[in-house]
């Protein structure tokens, strides 16, 4: 590539043209590049061919149950928070065929499934989203049963992270210690700096692959002022968080209050529509559907995103285990914030705020925790059960 290969952790400055060169370099290395672009009324993740595809000058105004695109005063490429979709869509697709078979005479032939594994490069991954990817890595590939297809899609990803310059109205990554600065797990991390007519990026090298690719990109040395300016951007974003969540003793708090009256209050509002789980970047539950064709000649098993909010999700012989909406909301929130710690060692929430924004009735997980905390049963004998 010719240029000087920087060390991991090193920083340099790149212009808008440099960003275009970075995109071209990724494409020419055969990556399928996914990044932010304007979709139908929101910033969504889709294929990117150049900086012209990015949502320059757009931002999102987010509140509980509400999202609106708005014009920014500047031409920032990454001047929004997070949209309805997460990278989960690409790494853990909503619908996936698991196996298929064909009847051949009296025999059943199992046909091979081709796992679609484009070499993904993700542009604009936020700190909370990086943490979410790490959480799903643990779920799908960190245990005794490994999800081969997930592993194949995840392998060799090139991740260009972005340190957030704008906090969304429903963000609380500071509470979950996942952002607004990307903490590891990236190849390159950008901080967008727009000041006094200049529009540049401070680039941090996160991996050898990142260093190698960046060596071919036009750049200049980062000054102390550049680095200070980037730190100031992140610090300002951290101060502007739309929400906070107090995690003190959260495991005991939620596990110890299964019969708290607040579960009834939230259930009276909850539509059990499952939007929160669909948009959550860490929710991983699926169902399987078995199908056969009219002639009974072929059969297939398909895996689809599912949710603890549906009745079918907990259906066993005789009926659903969690028939009441209160039991379903409680299951979701308690698993995400408390039981996840037992299961995977840390919280399942990264504070991205999507479940708050994309809930059609604006149910707010941070508000629900605060309400339970406000008059919780104090520790002692843990209360059991409750449906």
């Amino acid at each position: 590539m010719g240029g000087h290969v920087l060390a991991i952790g090193a920083k340099a400055m790149m212009t808008r043209d440099g960003l275009q060169a970075l995109i071209e370099a990724l494409l020419s290395r055969g990556y399928r590049l996914i990044g932010p672009r304007l979709g139908e009324g929101a910033i969504v993740y889709d294929d990117i061919g150049g900086i012209a595809d990015l949502p320059a000058g757009w931002t999102d105004r987010q509140e509980a149950g509400s999202y609106r695109l708005e014009r920014r005063a500047d031409a920032a490429f990454f001047g929004y928070a997070v949209g309805p979709q997460s990278w989960k869509r690409f790494l853990h697709p909503p619908v996936e065929r698991l196996w298929q078979a064909r009847r051949e005479g009296d025999e059943l032939a199992i046909l091979p499934i081709e796992i679609e594994t484009p070499k993904f490069a993700f542009l604009g991954v936020r700190g909370c989203e990086l943490r979410a990817i790490q959480i799903q890595d643990r779920v799908f590939t960190g245990g005794s049963q490994v999800d081969v297809a997930y592993g194949a899609r995840r392998r060799g990803n090139f991740i260009v992270a972005v340190n957030c310059g704008t906090a969304g109205g429903t963000c609380f990554c500071v509470s979950m210690a996942s952002g607004p600065k990307a903490k590891g797990g990236f190849d390159l991390a950008l901080t967008e700096l727009i000041e006094g007519g200049a529009h540049e990026f401070l680039v941090e090298i996160g991996s050898a692959t990142g260093a190698d690719l960046f060596a071919g990109i036009p750049q200049r040395t980062a000054s102390g002022d550049d680095i200070a300016a980037a730190e100031a951007v992140v610090a300002r974003t951290a101060r502007e968080m739309g929400r906070t969540l107090d995690n003190t003793g959260i495991k005991e708090l939620l596990q110890g209050n299964p019969n708290h009256p607040r579960w009834d209050t939230v259930a009276s509002r909850c539509l059990t529509c499952a939007n929160c789980t669909m948009v959550c970047p860490t929710c991983f539950c699926t169902t399987v559907e078995d199908g056969s064709d009219l002639a009974g000649a072929t059969a297939a098993r398909v895996r689809k995103w599912d949710s603890c909010f549906t009745l079918d999700f907990s259906f066993v012989h005789g009926g659903p285990v969690r028939s009441e909406p209160r039991a379903r909301y409680r299951q979701w929130m308690t698993h995400k914030l408390a039981n996840w710690i037992d299961q995977f060692g840390k919280s399942g929430c990264v504070g991205c705020g999507r479940c708050i924004t994309w809930c059609p009735v604006g149910i707010d997980i941070t508000e629900e925790v605060a309400a339970i905390r406000a008059n919780a049963r104090t520790a002692g004998t843990p209360e059991k059960g409750g449906a």
Partner: protein, 259 residues
């Protein structure tokens, strides 16, 4: 492995617009495949050649609105091993169940010169109000892929893969941006049975609920949200009172609104 005798299929029409039967005719390649694996024994909409029962699968379109049909459905049931209702009329009473909220004699007086030849019931009711039903396929009209799935499932003796969850799940699976959250457009998706593939939201419109209620919907909470988005009490009554007006809990929710 080929069965000695192909299963016999019949398609019946009650009070309906024929749209669901058309969905079957619209299955193109699949209808040829269907004709190979079943004997289409009776399907008057498609062919005048009708043979007598018994039938292995009866697809029933339409609701019961006349004393004659109330008798006829019993006969259909007796001749059918499996009875599957197709569409909102057969499953929920259809749009014609709006009569259930009014006096049918007023309609007769308004439409006909004399009521002498009109024999109609005061209500439009789903097939399940008259005979046991083996499976109910939702939609106004039904989705043809789901119809083929139901028939395939009955032929294979398995459960149809038709989830009774919200339209929102289909919206998110296809990657459609929520019209309620991103546009403030009232949508019935959160209380409506999936199956259409979230067509309306993908065209930036709210769901109309043509597939009827999903399993245990919270219609009251959604109505509250519609009010906040600017819908009037009359709007809410009307939207819960369309193709599935007579089904609970849409029926009760519609009665709680209006002017």
């Amino acid at each position: 492995m080929a069965p000695a005798r192909r299963p016999r299929l019949a398609v019946w029409k009650f009070a309906s617009c024929d749209g669901c039967q058309l969905s079957l005719l619209d299955c193109e390649d699949d209808i040829l495949a269907l004709a190979e694996v079943v004997e289409i024994a009776s399907f008057p909409e498609a062919s005048s050649a009708m043979s007598k029962g018994p039938y292995d699968i009866s697809l029933v379109e339409g609701s019961v609105t006349t004393p004659h049909d109330a008798m006829r459905i019993k006969k259909v049931r007796r001749q059918s091993r499996h009875l599957v209702t197709i569409g909102a009329c057969a499953t929920a009473g259809g749009i014609q169940a709006l009569r259930n909220f009014a006096d049918v004699d007023d309609f007769i007086a308004a439409v006909y010169a004399t009521s002498r030849y009109i024999k109609t019931l005061a209500t439009s009711t789903p097939i399940s109000a008259h005979v046991p039903v083996d499976y109910e396929l939702h939609g106004c009209p039904i989705d043809k892929t789901q119809l083929i799935e139901v028939i395939s499932a009955f032929l294979a003796g398995r459960k149809p893969a038709i989830p009774n969850q919200s339209v929102c799940i289909e919206c998110k699976q296809r990657g459609t941006v929520c019209v309620m959250v991103a546009r403030g457009t009232p949508c019935l998706g959160p209380v409506t049975h999936a199956g259409c593939g979230a067509i309306c939201p993908s065209f930036r419109r709210g769901c109309y609920g043509c597939f009827g209620p999903m399993a245990r919907p919270n219609t009251t909470a959604l109505a509250r949200e519609w009010r906040l988005l600017g819908a009037s009490e009359t709007d809410i009554q009307r939207v819960y009172r369309t193709f599935n007006a007579a089904t609970e809990p849409f029926k009760t929710e519609s009665e709680a609104h209006g002017d």
